[in-house]
Symmetry: C2
Subunit: 329 residues, 2 copies
């Protein structure tokens, strides 16, 4: 099954009920990571993953139907050229939903600090799917919305929800059982600290990096089972409010994902010198009895995990940190 | 079988033929690494490994028999206290060979730049075994000497030989088939560059690090088969003088070993910020068409691999590098 067939099964119509649609979605940070696709076009993952959304950081997208020949895309108020790679990727995704003879105007605003290495594609495709749902008046349930978002960007499947979300990897070839759902728990004391490490361009994008890992990393064989186990452990930690279990599992999981990249050929090392320095700072804090852990995505930046009690100690150690308490408004 | 039983099988007597014995052995750098023990006391490895010895860097050891109650150990001309951990480890190893009622004076000289992260235990135990062989007049063959050295420190089994050596992991429980042997090939153009990264104490020693990896790293499952395959590839590269195959295999192997450490819990990260900077320099040189690769042991230092043609380019990029051409006197 391809993406078009999948979407045809999920959406009730291609008849817009109004001229404009709006969607808004948060970025999310995986506490147990998604790394590896079992099917490329449908973004079907090798393993399940579990994330926390960051309220206040994300994407707002307005869709407007136009008569014309070409979509118009603006990002943070700036019009993009038609041959811009971001604009082209969005248009290709919108082709899957396009009513005959119509084009879209897409106005997207990201409130994501670019240097912090937060993936805007997750919040971006989640917001876009919500805008489509609004424009067409589909009133789809979260499960279907999550599948549609996944077709745009895997981790977008998790960005439809506030708080914790689990993306079940699913087993089916058509991916209709591969979607995220929210966990009911909240954790008011939980803090996420964004450590910004300035860096040049990434050595390789996530999709290409995943493929290279799956194809050439022998150690990756053991990753899917480890990740599946760690999703369950993080979920248990959330249910029992066991912060040590949460932190240890998330850090071990992130380091193991990076290990699969490092053991890939050619090697994929997203770490910068400053990443190692920041890791050593985290471990030094733990040595001092301050319970701080980190996670890292496909980039050089650390995202710290700690409880509100340790906010001061963390701010003292990391001068430029941005702290978010996901469950506190 | 324990180490004592094993030694009893290998040595013909405990009757010194003279009062002094001398041994000398080089350090070695594994191009396909030893990481993981299948048996702790006998230093039996999970996987085979392949190394290159560095002439001129190593250990010289003189053994003298004394009447007394306690061994006397000096390192680089400095007498060590009896409770020094290095002296105690040597004495425990010598207990396995000790003639009744006698003690040893051990004078050891290491010509190893300590900041370069070259393991002196490999050359140290190889030199000590040669000194014992001399003192007792055993005239053991290289295979037996390699087994005796292995009982002191795994990688010492490879330090009995100049040039390339393969340590066959063996299958037997008594380890009598786990020894190194020299490869016949030489490679005059081959250069090793020691990049010194100043660092504090290692986070964890090799033996403890290996055990922690074997016990907690799920990705390690795939390591033994990968390492076995890469020993064969490095050997093929040497036979065919295929430098690209040698370099790529050695770098991939070292990064994969470090990946197993990074995916261990608690994590074992021997890398320092400067290690990442040096790796990036190597990759930048390769981008420019200069064929340089690196390997790393259980520490933060890089050892570069390149051919003599590129000596100038490497010296320009790495100001403090120490270059050795193992096959050129």
């Amino acid at each position: 099954m391809n993406a078009q067939d999948c979407i045809n099964q999920l959406i009730p119509n291609r008849n817009p009920c109004k001229n404009q649609g709006f969607g808004e979605a948060p970025v999310n940070i995986a506490l147990s990571k998604y790394w590896g696709k079992r099917q490329l076009e449908l973004n079907l993952p090798t393993n399940s993953s579990l994330s926390i959304s960051l309220p206040g950081l994300g994407t707002k997208t307005q869709l407007t139907l136009l008569e014309g020949v070409q979509d118009q895309v603006s990002l943070n108020g700036q019009s993009l050229q038609a041959d811009d790679s971001f604009a082209k990727r969005l248009s290709r995704y919108l082709d899957l939903y396009r009513p005959p003879g119509l084009v879209f105007r897409i106005d997207t605003f990201n409130s994501v600090p670019t240097a912090a290495g937060l993936a805007s594609s997750a919040s971006g495709y989640a917001a876009l799917v919500l805008a489509l749902n609004d424009l067409f008046g589909w009133q789809l349930d979260n499960q279907k919305l999550s599948i549609l978002a996944r077709l745009g960007s895997g981790s977008a499947s998790r960005s439809l929800f506030p708080g914790f979300a689990v993306w079940h990897k699913g087993e089916r070839d058509d991916g209709l059982d591969s979607f995220a759902e929210a966990l009911p728990q909240s954790w008011p004391e939980l803090c996420i600290g964004l450590v910004k490490i300035n860096t040049a361009q990434k050595p390789i994008g996530s999709t290409a990096g995943m493929q290279q890992t799956v194809n050439t990393c022998e150690l990756y064989q053991a990753w899917p089972a480890q990740a599946e186990r760690q999703v369950k452990l993080v979920q248990q930690a959330i249910e029992q409010r066991d912060f040590q279990l949460l932190g240890e599992t998330a850090e071990h999981n992130a380091l193991s994902m990076h290990a699969t990249m490092i053991a890939t050929w050619p090697p994929i090392v997203y770490w910068q010198a400053e990443s190692i320095t920041a890791m050593q700072q985290v471990w030094a804090l733990r040595q001092q009895g301050i319970e701080v852990y980190f996670t890292m995505d496909a980039g050089p930046n650390l995202k710290l995990l700690f409880l509100a009690d340790n906010k001061k100690a963390v701010e003292t150690a990391f001068a430029d940190i941005q702290i978010i308490q996901p469950f506190v408004k």
